[in-house]
Amino acid sequence: MNPLTKSTTSVPIGPQAAARRSRPQVLLRKYGWSLAFLLPAAAIFLLFLWLPIMKGFVYSFYSIDFVNGNKFTGLDNYRTVLADPDVRIAIKNTLYYMFLCLIIGFWVPIVFAIAISEIKRFQGVFRVAAYLPNVIPVVVLYGLWRWLYDPVGPINASITSLWGGEGISFLSDTSWSMISLVFMETWQQFGSAMLLYLAAVLSIPRDWYEAAEIDGAGIWQRIRHITLPSLRSLILLMLVLQIIGTSQAYQSQLALLDGGPMNATLTYALLIVKYATTRLDMGTASAMGVLMFLVLGVLAMLHFRLDRKGGDAA
């Protein structure tokens, strides 16, 4: 190919430059509309996600004052975070909450998914029934569980009638308060995870089970050797997602107990909220957010890798 011949047909700026300019134009013609459709989503993503994240990083080095202006304070906010004894309590509580969510709540949707998949009739009804708590407004949820946990509520009434004694202060007793929140949240949230597991269970080829049955495998053996291994990647993915989700929890801790009693339900995310809104110390709240971002970033990368692995496997 003679480049000179090409240059005569193009603007007089040299052949390589012409080729360079024409390439984006061609691409723009080819992908212009696709990019235009991407623009709103990209704008929203940038404005409401990445810009706040970036601002959070910047704010973590400032003392934020909406009236008199911000002041650069270097690492002071990070020093405040590290010196605050409440932060240590909040980290401990968050880890405890994550642990409770794992042992109390993680297996529930798996069990329900397997159980519902085994139901031959009215499976849809059970599916909807299991998902229903998810659509309850949180105000109703908190009211309902306040009553269930009431000293004279149904749970305590059952406990005292069966075993006597004074019952349990589910919300005011520091050893029970976090556990009580986890039970409430598990009840409300297991439905959505259950649907994912159920979809995965139902996609396992039926002939595997039939073959196992012919070989004399009982229900437990079928679950152990077929269902659970088939769900392995999904379980791993859900585990990482749950760890990420529960590490940021604060809603029910704030609404029901405001982090109490005696800071027993003060989670890391709730402390960030308190720093930002109650103490109006946005700088320290941002510093806490940055530290959390770094930790969650590692988990998010793990999630991404698992997701890709799951996708490749699929």
Binding site: L51, V67, P151, V152, S169
Partner: protein
């Protein structure tokens, strides 16, 4: 393929960043042309629109003085919440009357109600209405942050300023400057469910009661097995610290002292220990508080309205409204008591509280003046008297009660007060405070600095007192005081 996509993405990102960055500054320039169209959020910008030409003209020919009534002004006002239907009706009526007198004023209704957790964000985003409600507790905080407009000039020229209740109004006067207008007030009281007392054959104590009377009454009424408490001191959120501070005052204590420009924590005194010991007695000796004691204002007042506690500590108006209008109690089944004295002959000290309206400092001078005129529009007018009467009649038709404020914005013995009282006396669905009880009220203003932080500190201690039998009260108070001192008080320099 990657390169051009990256270039386009970068261009997009830069454009968005630039537009985002210019957005905040742009408010001033763009809104100066159309500030009137969106006064709800652009308090300060209308000013530019209205005043700028006047300033330019001033250099050549002095403009004729413009009457504020002729100016196109938009103000956003504090408007009752959707479930406060009666209050909304009254406010709509007021808006209509105001607009008759000020036809050039556009009124935007804002049902954002003050929340200590939201005000910072509202002010940062310039989204607070032209004036908003707040509480007596917030005066120091709002002034300290610069979130309340200095309305001294407007106040000085207000013709009824000398008839306003000085005790209440002074909460929003700092260093001689006025920052808010009082709507009503109260001295924190104990509201008693007399019906519950009667059902347990417990005689109601006299109004001149003491801590021992409170303890004995609470103990006698409490029936933990049925989930009935004698008293529900708040144990969750900053309300817990606020409730307890009444007892600190009764024991003769203070939250903080100011000497030589320095603020010092004072709640770790013997009075503080005594007040905490009283909480210990209520919890561990009398077993008179709810088993599930982690109750905030709404939980405790709700428990009272449901007949699950015989006593609750709060501003009486809110408690009575819930008990009578939602809980189904009758006025003679409840009684408003002053806070008990620590010992016989002592003061019935309660925290002075109230509702105030504060003008947004970001609003223009014209908007501030119009907001002030709106706030005081009904004050001392016959229109307001007839509006109140209409409200009472409407409530009567709905089988509801009208709960007047414990203290009003005007002086109790004023002519206007007497006129209003005469209206109250005409109707049996108006709750009547007992003058004998009112006589004993001893309202104490709250701490001037970092009140919410102090309440939060105290809440942790109160929760510990309710959760554990043996707590070293003095050590806890000292630690909290040290914390408050180093974190907050040391940074304050009082002028």
């Amino acid at each position: 393929m990657r390169k051009p996509t990256a270039i386009i993405s970068c261009l997009m990102a830069t454009t968005l960043l630039l537009s985002a960055c210019s957005g905040s500054n742009g408010n001033n320039s763009s809104n100066s042309n159309n500030g009137n169209s969106n006064a709800g959020n652009t308090g300060g910008t209308t000013n530019t629109a209205v005043n700028e030409p006047a300033v330019n003209n001033a250099e050549s020919t002095p403009p004729p003085e413009e009457n504020i009534k002729d100016k196109k002004i938009t103000i956003s006002i504090y408007y009752p919440l959707p479930d406060q239907t009666e209050k909304r009706k009254s406010e709509d009526d007021k808006i209509a009357r105001f607009q008759q007198e000020y036809p050039n004023v556009t009124i935007v209704k804002s049902d954002w109600h003050y929340n200590v957790d939201e005000i910072g964000v509202k002010m940062a985003a310039n989204e607070a209405p032209t004036f908003f409600n707040t509480f007596a507790t917030e005066a120091g905080f709002l002034v300290q942050r610069g979130w309340a407009a200095d309305i001294t000039e407007l106040w000085s020229s207000y013709s009824f300023k000398d008839d306003i209740n000085p005790t209440l109004q002074n909460q929003f006067v700092k260093d001689g400057k006025v920052y808010g207008v009082v709507q009503n007030g109260y001295s924190t009281s104990t509201v008693i469910n007399k019906k519950l007392l009667a059902s347990k054959n417990v005689t109601a104590p006299s109004y001149d009661w003491t801590w021992d009377d409170m303890l004995a009454t609470a103990k006698a009424v409490a029936d933990p097995k049925k989930g009935i408490a004698g008293i529900a001191p708040m144990g969750k959120g900053n309300e817990a610290g606020w409730n307890w501070t009444n007892f600190l005052f009764e024991a003769g204590g203070q939250i903080q002292t100011t000497n030589g420009g320095k603020v010092t924590a004072a709640f770790n005194s013997d009075a503080g220990v005594k007040a905490l010991q009283f909480y210990q007695k209520l919890r561990w000796e009398a077993n008179a508080i709810p088993k599930d004691w982690a109750l905030g204002w709404g939980d405790a007042v709700g428990a009272f309205a449901q007949g699950r506690t015989a006593m609750v500590i709060a501003g009486a108006e809110g408690v009575l409204d819930q008990a009578l209008n939602q809980g189904g109690l009758k006025p003679d089944e409840v009684a408003t008591y002053p806070m008990p004295a620590a010992e016989a002959g002592g003061k019935h000290s309660g925290i002075l509280g109230g509702d105030y309206l504060v003008i947004n400092p970001n609003a223009s001078k014209d908007e501030q003046e119009m907001a002030f005129r709106y706030i005081t529009f009904d004050y001392f007018t016959d229109n307001y008297l007839s509006a109140v009467e209409k409200d009472i009649q409407a409530r009567k038709a709905d089988g509801k009660y009208y709960i007047p404020p414990q203290m009003s914005y005007f002086k109790g013995d004023s002519e206007y007060g007497k006129k209003l009282q005469a209206i109250y006396d005409k109707y049996d669905n108006v709750y009547k405070y007992d003058p004998e009880s009112n006589k004993l009220l001893d309202g104490n203003p709250e701490a001037q600095y970092n009140t919410q932080e102090y309440y939060a500190e105290m809440t942790s201690i109160i929760q510990e007192v309710f959760a554990k039998k043996d707590v070293d009260l003095k050590a806890k108070l000292d630690a909290a005081a040290k914390n408050m001192q180093s974190k907050h008080y040391d940074a304050i320099k009082v002028q």
